[in-house]
């Protein structure tokens, strides 16, 4: 032990275990049961294994919660890539070490042949306003696409077909799943529609959104019994929202020096 801890031979934990240890502890009680996010956990790293323990009395780490965490937010549950290589979790063994502790063995580190960092970027589409529209009329609900087409047409008459974006998110039908919604043909008895108007300038975005939102009110659907307004407004206005962005860059970038993009500084303060 003395030899391991001496300056000449500092302890060197296996990279695979060390990285896995960091990966689990980074998410703390998020990988416990029941899952949380801010409760403390305790990790132990040895030369042979990783042990993680939930500290809140109501929480436990379980085989399912720790193993399941490897799948979380990733396209492949077995490999996690990072600058300098990847960790291979395909041979991980999890065991319930005690009531609230899981012991993990088997993750391995595979060095990369070249250094690469992930490079992501988003580009601004434009300024955005949103409007909220409610619908209770059953015929309008059944023909909601006709109403949004009407509104879209009114915007096109004012601004043309391009130079802006207009989106109608139909809550109560398929706003969340879109075309993947299996129940899209049987909408709820009332709908909430979020209208998004996006344009290069705020004033135009507001007007695009305002025309589209307000024209839902005037949409002419032949069989609607009501003639005093086709939709229900919570507000007779539209609201500024955060600008709209989309992904523009999804790459990796080769580096010669792993730290060249991550300069570090030491500053003395408060002395």
């Amino acid at each position: 032990l003395r030899d391991l801890c001496s300056a000449r031979h500092p302890p060197r934990f296996p990279e695979g275990l060390a990285y896995f240890y960091g990966k689990v502890l980074e998410c703390a009680s998020f990988c416990a049961e029941p899952y949380g996010g801010k409760e403390s956990v305790l990790g132990e790293l040895t030369m042979d294994d990783v042990k993680v323990t939930a500290l809140l009395p109501e929480q436990r780490y379980t085989i399912a919660s720790v193993a399941g965490h490897a799948m979380y937010e990733r396209a492949n549950p077995f490999y996690e890539h990072f600058l300098g290589g990847h960790i291979d979790m395909s041979q991980c063994q999890n065991e319930q070490y005690d009531e609230r502790t899981v012991r993990v063995t088997g993750p391995s580190y595979v060095p990369a042949t070249e250094l690469r960092v992930k490079l992501e970027g988003a580009g601004k589409i434009g300024e955005r306003y949103i409007g909220i529209v409610g619908v209770r009329d059953p015929y309008t609900i059944a023909n909601i696409d006709l109403a949004t087409q009407w509104a879209r047409q009114q915007v096109a008459e004012r601004f043309g077909e391009s130079g802006y974006e207009l989106h109608f998110m139909v809550y109560g039908r398929n706003a969340i799943l879109g075309d993947r919604e299996p129940l899209r043909t049987t909408p709820a008895h009332e709908l909430g529609i979020i209208v998004q108007g996006i344009a290069p300038e705020k004033a135009m975005a507001e007007e695009v959104c305002m025309i589209a939102t307000r024209q839902m009110f005037y949409a002419r659907l032949p069989q609607v019994k009501g003639t005093a307004g086709g939709v229900a407004f919570l507000l007779d206005e539209v609201m500024p929202a955060s600008p709209a962005y989309r992904w523009t860059l999804n790459h990796t970038m080769r580096l010669d020096d792993p730290l060249e993009l991550f300069p570090t500084f030491i500053v003395e303060a408060g002395v």
Partner: protein
């Protein structure tokens, strides 16, 4: 008549989440090996079955994987649009698992 149970009655966790710019991961975690094996062998979560339920082109679903050691099962699919673009009303992809809950798994 073959009896069946819904996946939501069998699995411990069923969830979805963004896994990149244009990917969503669907994770199904089982309480034990027996239930995991039963669902796996039933084919209810096969690549073709999941693509059908989520109405995605099978050719666009990059991977499915199974981990028999720990009883999870994970399926990934391309999302319909880029994450967090204006057409995406689920910017974290966290509510996309809904259709999986009602998958009928034949008792076997």
């Amino acid at each position: 008549v073959t009896a069946s149970r819904r996946l939501s009655e069998i699995a411990k966790t069923i969830r979805s989440k963004n896994a990149g710019v244009d990917k969503i991961t669907f994770d199904v975690i089982f309480p034990g090996r027996a239930s995991y094996e039963r669902v796996r062998q039933s084919g209810a979560l096969s690549r073709a079955a999941v693509c059908d339920i989520l109405r995605i082109d099978e050719g666009k679903s990059p991977t499915t994987s199974n981990s028999t050691r720990q009883w999870p099962s994970s399926s990934r699919s391309t999302a319909g649009c880029q994450a967090a673009s204006p057409a995406d009303a689920d910017i974290f992809g966290s509510q996309q698992y809904g259709p999986l809950l009602d998958i009928e798994v034949p008792d076997g």
